[in-house]
Symmetry: C2
Amino acid sequence: MLEQMGQAAKKASYQLATLSSAKKNQALAVMADTLEANSDVILSANEKDMDAAKASGTSEALLDRLLLTPSRLAAIANDVRHVCRLVDPVGHIIDGSLLDSGLNLQRRRVPLGVVGVIYEARPNVTIDVASLCLKTGNAVILRGGKETVHTNKAMVEVIQLALSQCGLPAAAVQSIDNPDRELINQLLKLDRYVDMLIPRGGAALHRLCRENSTIPVIIGGIGICHTFVDESADFDKALAIIDNAKTQRPSTCNTLETLLVQRSIASTFLPKLSEKMKGSGVTLHASPEAMMYLSGGEAIVVPVIDEDYEKEWLSLDLNVTVVDGLDEAIGHIRAHGSAHSDAILTRSLSNADRFVAEVDSAAVYVNASTRFTDGGQFGLGAEVAVSTQKLHARGPMGLEALTTYKWIGYGDDLIRR
Amino acid sequence: MLEQMGQAAKKASYQLATLSSAKKNQALAVMADTLEANSDVILSANEKDMDAAKASGTSEALLDRLLLTPSRLAAIANDVRHVCRLVDPVGHIIDGSLLDSGLNLQRRRVPLGVVGVIYEARPNVTIDVASLCLKTGNAVILRGGKETVHTNKAMVEVIQLALSQCGLPAAAVQSIDNPDRELINQLLKLDRYVDMLIPRGGAALHRLCRENSTIPVIIGGIGICHTFVDESADFDKALAIIDNAKTQRPSTCNTLETLLVQRSIASTFLPKLSEKMKGSGVTLHASPEAMMYLSGGEAIVVPVIDEDYEKEWLSLDLNVTVVDGLDEAIGHIRAHGSAHSDAILTRSLSNADRFVAEVDSAAVYVNASTRFTDGGQFGLGAEVAVSTQKLHARGPMGLEALTTYKWIGYGDDLIRR
């Protein structure tokens, strides 16, 4: 079955690759309208998923992620209309020149072809990914979580209806509705048809893809983010940034997980940190040295254990440790980080420059919250994923990351000499 | 052992990443001088490899690839000096802006970190790859062919001597000297330390890497290249291009392997092709329809078999088949090509545009030889590999393909709202 899906997607991708931006935007507009016109079908499919999820004792938090309402669906349709307004990267000439040989060479941006996306519960991802792939002329094979199987199936049927209305191949957007996990393993081997694979989920999913996929995979999404406060930092401003990075939305991958404090200010800064974190309800996981200045303070403090340094808390928990200075801070980040987002809070230009140059992460910040690592915040207009690997795309991936380029050489009957 | 090499390479990469272009160029100059100063050591190591190769009955062609002479070694040293003169892509600001949030964001080009290269017999690749990696601030782990184990070992020792003289870590360039193939499998799993893997060899090596590596792999190098002659083409000019693409250097991956001829000109064009190919000593592998116009001609003709269409001949052999027109030509290329280099010979602007848009290969040509797909020809200054996959880099890879970028955000005590 996947072989057929792959073939159909590849065939569809050839047609999509030659569409004008106007035609793709028209299809996106029809897709948005069709989603709203068929909201009854989608919402009743979502009810089935909700009933099954409730019956199996799913948590309230997860139920809320699963739930679609008329207003949520309208918001999703509006997101599709927003994608219409983004600049289409396809067709852009990256560079080119008339070479000495006489070859008129240019590098043109083109769609990747077929993208595979494996994701978890949220049904909005289905529409989000489908619209971004259509915008960039890519076919997509979706594999959503089993909790949303009815919702996804209904949504993809509506998308395919919209595609057909626009004279586009329905196979441009396909989903694997069978929840059998063996199909994921098959998808991972479909390199004959699929050009890029994006897992959107936890560490286990990324590991599965990294170890088993024969398709190039975008690894990312796991954020063990650090902030280093050096002795020159302004305490009040540092506390505000730390609070923002930890508490603005703790469940996100750009949330601060470990705070590194320079030894020379530990005794003065950490009591203030305790006070601030108490106000935000953050539990501190302190190293023995940090504990000396945190215990007896206002915030809840527990001893940190080694494994905590490699944990994405995704909750109101923060590791706190004391380091001698910049070198030890950089060493800690190299040893324990996930190369996602790391920040230094300092007044020293020299420390800022060294931190930026020597910390090898997708995003590095000076006197700013790690929470900025986000396609929307970076002005990319959309976010396909956040990559923590180094090939193809790093950090927040916008539409451009769904494209590649081809070299085009024009000659006037030209041979190589 | 590989674990230690990986650790050492990663550590070295941190130091390399912060070097100025001047410092890297100085190290390259010292490397070139040291290679020449130690030519005796390298040439006598090469003699050992040559003796072993002769004893095991290695072909003359392969022996010639293995052989180093004083003049070849001098040429290799000069290639290193040439790398000094290339523009260093590291540190370049790709783009950036002051965002509405107040974040001053820039995207800076940085080294990948650690590159792994698995290659076969040629000893010049060792120096070539080492110099390109050093130029871009990457550490490299080399795994050459077992035929050149002594030569590679001697060369890497000389490189490490040069690095030490410049105060750089010797682990910046390491080689796996043990010919045990199990070490390749271990290297493929070293994702904790190695950021990119480049196999330079045949299809089997690429498949091994694709199927087993947990490190992102650059797949490429296999060229099943096509040229389509449509009915509007100038025959004499077409024959010159075909001859160049097939015979200028048949062992290369950008060599023409299958010629597609439009049916309406088959009876007039193919007899001329036969005459031309006879002059170049090319054996034609003809489809039944092409055979009708080729048999009885001057060139040697044999029937093509289906497998031939997916074969990289790398010899003076050329598949010839007849197609109805552009659609069938594109269909054939999609079905049988390796997405490397494909050309159309035509006077029709419309056919040229469609071919360029619809053939999904790394390089597509209009009225030019496929032989142009090459880093040097494309003006890249160097060629790391030729990628036929779509992520990160496509087609000839220059220095830029050995880099990634990081996002750098400067704030004046900035929190996300």
